[in-house]
Symmetry: C2
């Protein structure tokens, strides 16, 4: 099976894809839209996409693409995000002057820069890509912040492990396929819907769940392109294919301009936030 990811090999998306499908061939794509293109064209059978980080929030672009494209969520996964400082094998910690990484990763490792004043943070387009850059360009005064997997992928050395400021750092990934599937143990449903722009519209929409004791685990709003200050809502409910959920969705269809079921799948188990094996 081929699985598309956004970003380079060795990234957190690569890690997530391997957990979803351990024997998959990973197809790295430059942009999120390219991932969905690969899926729609049939050149990959699935995609592993990041949808939300517990500190940085939603990945807005992937929400928009789930709505626009022919794609359905098959599974979800919560990945503990552990950042590492990775450099050329011969580079010592005291050599490091420049640290490359994605801006979100740099922002999540501010303690590193406070305790190592000689290091300067330099924004880069990708976490794993910043390791590849430092190693392939043989930058002996540089390091990169990236997952462990990136060190192995590009022949870098881990100078410091688990350097993220906050250990409650998880990213929710989705395995997305081209067709909707009914999975055993599915107990979570993701929906997108737009409401008429009238007072109380969202309250009424949420009533379809509240009146049936169906709880929401997440709600997100995204702008509707071409209609300034109107929104599409994305909601995750803690129910699968049961009657109450079906009735709630039917009820929502009465109220909403449209409803799209993005997927019905088993809810992921929350991993713990403890230290990694290497630090025990």
């Amino acid at each position: 099976m081929k699985v598309a990811i956004q970003g380079e090999l060795g990234s957190f998306s690569h890690e997530a894809a391997m957990q979803f499908a351990p024997s998959a061939v990973i197809v790295p794509c430059e942009r999120c839209a390219d991932v969905f293109d690969a899926l729609e064209s049939g050149s990959v059978q699935a995609a592993a996409i990041a949808i939300e980080n517990s500190l940085a929030g939603s990945v807005a672009e992937n929400y928009d693409l789930l709505l626009k494209r022919d794609a359905f969520i098959a599974r979800e996964l919560l990945l503990r995000i552990r950042h590492n400082l990775i450099a050329l094998p011969e580079t010592k910690l005291t050599d490091v002057r420049r640290v490359f990484s994605h801006p979100v990763a740099l922002e999540q490792c501010r303690k590193l820069f406070r305790s190592h004043r000689a290091m300067r943070a330099i924004p880069f387009y990708d976490t794993a890509g910043s390791v590849r850059h430092a190693v392939s360009e043989r930058l002996d005064d540089a390091a990169a912040i990236a997952p462990k997997r990136a060190a192995a992928q590009y022949g870098g050395k881990i100078l410091l492990a688990d350097i993220e400021d906050n250990r409650q750092n998880f990213t929710r990934f989705l395995l997305v396929g081209k067709r909707a599937k009914k999975l055993r143990g599915a107990n979570k449903t993701s929906l997108a819907f737009a409401l008429k722009n009238v007072p109380g519209a969202l309250f009424k929409a949420l009533s379809v769940f509240a009146l049936r004791d169906i709880s929401l685990s997440k709600i997100e709003s995204r702008p509707i392109v071409g209609r300034p200050w109107e929104y599409v809502f994305f909601a995750d409910i803690n129910r699968g294919h049961d009657e109450a959920a079906q009735n709630a969705i039917h009820h929502l269809e009465e109220i909403a301009e449209f409803v799209k079921v993005l997927g019905v799948y088993p809810a992921a188990v929350q991993p713990n936030s403890g230290k990694s094996e290497t630090q025990k």
Copy 2:
């Protein structure tokens, strides 16, 4: 009056700050957090911050800062976002091979790249900063996508005006001060609140507005740091200091873990999306 902005002089934030306070001295800051630092330290009297774009969505970082910092919204403004292709005065359109800009601006001008195949989009940290870069480095094969104001600021020439793909492109800016003020004509209130993680919590929270016929113009959710998959909600209601709004907020306080009033201010007028003067 000194007004802090995130980004360089000549940016859309600079434009917004000048519309808020035409005689203000603008203080550019590198990061959003620096803007709030300047405000809290008293080195500026106000800040002009982007909170939402009608195509790209919310500026998450500024939502988080409005909650965390001692700052209150005094006014809002809707700015029509017009992108321009700006280069050295001697550069011709056919010379341009590289186009620098902020990734969001590049994404909003995809038609330009489809109709000018020789141009390659290169992500840069700031729109106005990309004009400064092209001009100060005398890059004669380069251009930048930025507001008109950036051309004047750095001595660039506008090669193409109004190159944004979608004219329904507006950014909502907020003028933020250190202290809450009661303004005449205030008819909009921005709130932040956190809910207990129980089924139906958001539905109950929205009932405090719906039951009083108070409409919401926006709702946004952001993660609570350290509590994965729990959220703070940001809501704008179309009411000022009246009794119904006061009662609704009081009612919300009964339900919520906390409520913070981020500001009570006059709602902005929606500008039209027509062509600029220069194209008539």
